[in-house]
Amino acid sequence: MNIHIAGGGRVGSHLAALLAAENHDVTIIEHDLNRVEQVDYALDVSTIRGSATSVMLLQEAGVANADLFVSVTGLDEVNLIAAATAKGLGAKQVVARVDDPTYIESNILYETILGIDYLLSPNALTAMQLTRYIERPGMIATEDFGKGLVQARQMRITKSPTGNGKTLKDVVLPEGVLLGMLSRAGVVSVPHGDSVIEEGDLVTFVGKRDQMDQVQKIFQATTPKPERVMIMGGGSIGFHLAHMLEHEGRAVKVFDWDINRCKELAEALPKSKIVCRDATQRISLEQEHVQDWDAFVATTHDDERNIMASVLAKEVGAQRTMCVVHQPDFAHIVGKLGIDHAVTPRASLANRVLKLVHQRTHSATTVLEEGEVQIVEHIVHPKAPAVKKTLSDLKMPAGALVCAIIRGDSVIIPRGPDRIEADDAVVLFVSPEALQKTKKLFTR
């Protein structure tokens, strides 16, 4: 696919890296010379230096032939104009990143008026991810495949059935469930019988949907749903989070040290308590009784402050702590500091866009973490190379693993001798590099 990305910052370059790994033709438009050079050096994509709002530049860049145009600069208005212009020039699908709640709240209206296919906000997506994690502790993502017969769940392990000499083969998984991917400190691997699962690991399970709650019981300690959530930082993420939690009926307290921002928040969030103080000070946390609240979430734009405040909150007595980190390298180490969960805004947005890309070729898909883990579903074409072949005959590319076959209403968790038939739905784990090759096996 021919994909143009406006903005080569954190979000843009991350997205470009993921798309380039999947062999798409990627062009980045960026006005800052240093960023252009950085991208040019690090990624196998082409770069154009200039403003993404310039119609001349977009025309010259060949946006008219783009299958997808994504505008992810730091400025909402630039993104809106760039995306609307690209659409006008003939780009097939356009996406704009916006962070201002004004645009997000009436996104459908804006989408219709401006002709933009999707308005996406990394901050709102991040807040949504945090809300989901608060609602269902330990659960990072769920995705249904095969019309709801099969479910993939990525969860954080809080109770490991292995250890003390017991390995995975001693654990009895419910029938029809496969343990697919194990991610520890950012390193993804496929676990085998002798593997040991540790607390804090991220594990992805795929299997029959009705068995998944059973899995959850084995690998997760039961924790009560947090009713009271403390949020540090009343910025865009903090606001969205408070807004969503308020909507769910949770008690919310928001810290922000800017009195003007606090006043705005107090107007916009009628049910939340707004406190104007610095949550990185021990005394603030103590006086606001952080130990009596169920969860503490640090959401400022400053990674170091988020991490330190979370550690401090834990120290003072917070039950569970979560934080937002913008630098993805930090996301894997926060577990070591006793922080329960970290969310990366750029990954939230990139994974959402990647999903849009995959939707054109796959019947269902999900992208986890920083894009290293992807689960896709293919409906097997009757003339595809894979038809009538057994899994052991089928030469799957390295980095791809078939984890479920759905035939009619039955789910098969496949082994070597199982055969693939036309019109089966096949659910696979794939690495970005293996994505294209795998696709060829199941399509014509």
């Binding site: 021919n2 380039a20 790994a21 062999n23 033709d25 990627v26 062009t27 010379l33 050079e37 040019d40 050096y41 690090a42 990624l43 196998d44 994509v45 082409s46 590099e433």
Partner: protein, 503 residues
């Protein structure tokens, strides 16, 4: 430095070289040269074996190719290619080791200077390899590697840039592997067209036409004949060669733009226009210089060195134009074909030839030299500095055509120029220590460093490099690689900290 990864990729590379000997083996069978087939098979087998060993040594390497590894990879790939490329000469007993290395380096770097004295004694299959190296080296052996090997990702981009010519090389397509493939497709297309054109003249059989096509498009300069293009003495052949030498010296991305329907891109490109302008001006100047009797220079210097007496050649205007057009094109495109001994020309024309050697063709082509674009940037940089001495407050951007050249590129061009001079000075000293006379030594260095081929006097177009002492041949072979990779890639190898692990 990630030596394991280097070893793994070089293993692939050496194996690929082994396969590239196969066409020569085919020709050996065609011509019935059964006595050299064993030698060629040995060369091929040796390359494959070396490749296998290197690959096994590095098989467990993790595959992230950083800038440092990319530079190390390109440099060592070229040294390896030159060494392996010498095997066909050595294994068939055609040349000694030093001569073989010189000939191999001269071929792959598309220099075209030769040590070959007896052209008829060289088996045709080995001759084919000799010409084929021009074709491979012209577009670049590592670019070929990038085109063939999948999953190099951004690392492939580093490789591509370390080998491509010009100050700011970038791909034609978003993905570098596609760019490399596309360049080779254009190159391949040109090869077919030129071979057919040369055969249509009926002056050349298929073998000669193909060989000269390799040599022209790589802007190399080897010929299958000792007399070079003078052998054919045909205006049609010369015209075809002039045309394709120019084609090979223009930025290949312009052809891509033309294929895409932008037919005017060739005429809009500043570098291309300047290139053609310089070429035409030089041809006219040399024509006039040759044809006007009073402008003829003194030839005494030449007799002093060779001891022979040279008869005065009188050029008519048409003859002068024909000679000048071919010879000037041959020199500015850094090909190095000869239809005439330009060393017998008047001083002014000889001088002009030397300067044309420096300038070279356009960026992104197969030509050597400094490249027109760098000369333009350098001159503009100097002009801006001069202007700033009397108009210090003036702020201006350096433009070439519509493109603004940013400071980073400007500095690289400046550094390139200084490095170029430094390598020439070093080479000149080495040559003089080995006993080469001044003009011969300097011109040999320049001709090798700028990948042209023939120089002046002892290494002039009617002489060859066999007079250079063995050490000198090896040094020149080395400087050809320095020049082909545009100084930086090899110079960086001389920085000790480049090699240390983890610094």
């Amino acid at each position: 430095m990630n030596y394991a990864l280097l070893s793994k990729y070089l293993g692939f590379f050496a194996g690929a070289m082994g396969l590239l000997f196969l066409p020569s083996i085919g020709w050996a069978m065609w011509f019935g040269e059964w006595d050299v087939i064993m030698g060629l098979l040995l060369a091929s087998g040796a390359s494959l074996a070396i490749g296998g060993i290197l690959y096994i040594l590095g098989r467990n390497a993790d595959s992230v190719l950083y800038q440092r590894e990319a530079l190390g990879m390109v440099a060592s790939a070229w040294f390896l290619a030159v060494s392996l490329g010498a095997l066909p000469y050595i294994c068939t007993g055609s040349l000694g080791v030093v001569d073989a290395i010189f000939e191999s380096s001269s071929g792959i770097t598309t220099t075209g200077g030769s040590v070959l004295n007896d052209y008829d004694a060289l088996p045709k299959s080995v001759m084919f390899w000799r010409m084929f190296t021009h074709w491979l080296g012209g577009m670049g052996i590592v670019v070929l590697f990038v085109a063939v090997l999948p999953y190099l990702g951004a690392g492939g981009k580093q490789l591509f840039r370390s080998e491509s010519t010009g100050p700011d090389p970038h791909g034609l397509r978003p993905r570098i592997r596609e760019s490399a493939t596309l360049l080779y497709r254009i190159y391949f297309g040109l090869t077919i067209v030129q071979t057919i054109a040369l055969m249509a003249t009926r002056e050349m059989p298929f073998f000669d036409a193909l060989c000269h096509t390799f040599s022209t498009l790589g802007t190399g300069g080897f010929s299958t004949k000792a007399e070079s293009i003078e052998f054919y003495d045909s205006i049609v052949v010369e015209t075809i060669l002039i045309f394709f030498m120019i084609v090979a010296s223009i930025n290949f991305s312009l052809y891509f733009a033309m294929i895409k329907g932008n037919l005017k891109s060739l005429f809009r490109d500043t570098e291309c226009r300047v290139f053609i302008g310089v070429l035409v001006a030089a041809v006219l100047l040399v024509t006039a210089n040759l044809a006007l009797p009073h402008a003829r220079g003194d030839l005494a210097h030449y007799r002093e060195f060779t001891g022979e007496s040279i008869e005065q050649v009188h050029y008519t205007w048409p003859h002068a134009f024909r000679t000048a057009a071919f010879q000037v094109t041959s020199m500015i495109t850094t090909t190095g074909y000869a239809t005439d001994d330009y060393d017998t020309w008047p001083h002014f024309s000889r001088m002009l030839i030397v300067w044309l050697m420096f300038i070279g063709g356009c960026a992104g082509s197969t030509a050597g030299g400094m490249k027109i674009i760098r000369v333009i940037i350098l001159l503009k940089m100097v002009y801006h500095r001069v202007e700033s001495t009397f108009r210090p407050k003036r702020v201006r951007a350096l433009r070439v055509g519509e493109h603004v050249i940013d400071e980073n590129v400007q500095q690289m061009v400046g550094a390139f120029f200084v490095m170029n001079i430094a390598w020439i000075v070093t080479g000149a000293f080495v040559m003089s220590l080995l006993g080469m006379p001044l003009i011969s030594g300097v011109s040999a260095t320049v001709a090798c460093l700028q990948n042209i081929g023939p120089g002046l006097e002892l290494v002039g177009p009617h002489q060859n490099f066999s007079v250079v002492p063995d050490l000198g041949k090896l040094y020149l072979a080395f400087s050809m690689i320095v020049g082909r990779l545009e100084m930086f890639t090899i110079t960086v190898l001389l920085v000790p900290s480049f090699w240390r692990v983890g610094r």
